[in-house]
Symmetry: C2
Subunit: 309 residues, 2 copies
């Protein structure tokens, strides 16, 4: 039988990665209530906002206010995305103690995303990672387009391994490897993770899978079997896919947590509370969220209500 970890960390990215890809702007008070609700679910890590220029991501222009206003629950890691030194300073002065930097594994996606080459981006990280650590903050990194790029297609896994090692050597504590457009398949994930795990300890790697083609859980399963213990997801599947309007983006936290619990793997998350947080943000963004577990749960509840009445 496959040996799976006994416990994993679910890294909730809905308030940042989810909301930045929703078309409407959610009121600041709603965001704070949403993050506070997430804090009460038992989640161990929550990315709450970004300190990227509001010209780039207007949806998260209120990052500083959100960071200052949420209720911080002891034991929960709160992080924020930071693009440069200015963002770092804003994050630190808003009380953040974990920040996240980001780049792509493919040149074209990186250029379109941050208007820099990958080499330039890595040099710019030196302005952020050192000072962040000097200020006592931990630094996470997101690598996008690990399993495929919307502009270049295939991505060389050796580049992913090299980037991950460079980031680790720079002082990043964990590299989250993103399937940005949801094209990864389980055989590919196995190959890429084998290459990575030959050189990097499993706790320094997180999986950030998108469910655009319904493969996110299958891909996570491969990582679980290889000992990966941190998985990014977005409550309800908040966020959508910017490359295919109407399609799914981030793996839904409910789908991930429900599957892990069914497998006997602990997450510390209370699924009922998670569903409540999901419904809260669903009301704020004004749309039904795509999580399969959520739909099944709400459908069953509706059926029971009809039976009773």
């Amino acid at each position: 039988m496959t040996q799976y970890p006994e416990r994993v960390t679910v890294y909730e990215v809905g308030p940042r990665d989810g909301l930045q890809n929703e078309s409407g702007t959610v009121p600041t008070a709603d965001k704070i209530a949403f993050i506070d609700a997430l804090s009460d679910t038992g989640l161990q890590a929550i990315e709450i906002t970004s300190f990227v220029s509001p010209r780039w991501i207007p949806q998260l222009a209120d990052g500083a206010e959100v960071a200052r206003s949420i209720r911080r629950r002891p034991g929960v890691l709160y992080s924020a995305l930071v693009p440069n030194r200015k963002g770092l300073d804003a994050a630190l002065s808003s009380g953040m103690t974990t920040i996240a930097v980001f780049l792509s594994a493919s040149e074209t996606h990186n250029k379109k995303n941050v208007n820099k080459t990958i080499a330039e981006t890595l040099r710019a990280f030196e302005d952020v990672v050192g000072p962040a650590k000097a200020a006592g903050a931990r630094v996470r990194a997101y690598v996008s387009t690990v399993y495929g790029c919307p502009y270049e297609g295939d991505v060389d896994p050796r580049r992913v391994v090299e980037l991950t090692k460079t980031l680790r050597d720079m002082g990043v504590y964990q590299v989250s490897l993103g399937d940005t457009i949801g094209v990864a398949n389980p055989a590919q994930v196995e190959r890429v993770l084998h290459m990575l795990l030959a050189e990097i300890p499993s706790d320094q790697i997180a999986m950030h899978m998108h469910d655009t083609r319904g493969t996110a859980l299958a891909n996570c399963l491969v990582g679980l079997g290889l000992g990966i213990t941190t998985f990014d997801s977005s409550v309800g599947g908040l966020g959508g896919c910017p490359y295919a309007p109407g399609a799914s983006g981030n793996l839904a936290t409910e789908d991930l947590v429900a599957c892990l619990h069914a497998m006997g793997i602990q997450t510390g998350v209370d699924l009922e509370k998670l569903v409540a947080a999901s419904q809260l943000v669903s009301a704020s963004v004004g749309r039904e969220l795509p999580s399969r577990y959520l739909k099944a749960h709400l459908g069953q509840a509706a059926r029971l209500l009809r039976k009773r009445s």
Copy 2:
């Protein structure tokens, strides 16, 4: 690296299992056009209808007409669901050469579904399987609630193994094991399949997973790694879940085929033609189908159109 089969059979159940769970009735001509479109995709097996009493499944009351009117493509297996001797005779006289019988692994679900105990159902099969084989037809069997029952909860996997052996000994060529309410998890699937494969050759078992909680592909992946080579699915995810209105039911054929192809596993299916068949039936049932791959595909197409205009 995990060894996966080079080729698998995708067993399309949309025209039967899908349409029987859609609320509206689809015109017979639409069904015929739909099945003919499926025949042109390269699918190797299609379940086209059922010969169950129209009082039970009014959606498929036109089974005989459908069976007589479709264009049968050489090399494609066409099957129909049959509950008893009367249904068998109707199926045979409509030109069917493969039929499928069905029962549940849990007593309560079986009783509610066919108003018989499991033992009574197995005895009734003798009226069907022998005569079917004597008439030169092949017999498949569906076992429902293999991984959990909506009334009883857990299902003993030893009962599933015993039932599968009994059906095989009766002359059934393949037993399709259904996760009727979509509660299976990958660790459980591994345990159940290990027990089954210790006693039954892998080509006598098919997996019929539901995507109610988003786990169908992850569950199929486990079976693939253990050598299972037949997977049931429903184009577009047609059918929904009768136990949770609004939720997903059958695994979507597009999601399965796209994942298999990405893994380098052949199915013989042309994905573009599959999407066309999916859109055809989506128009007939008057709703958007839940396949993730389908939504991503249509979303990308819409984006390209907007760019061009």
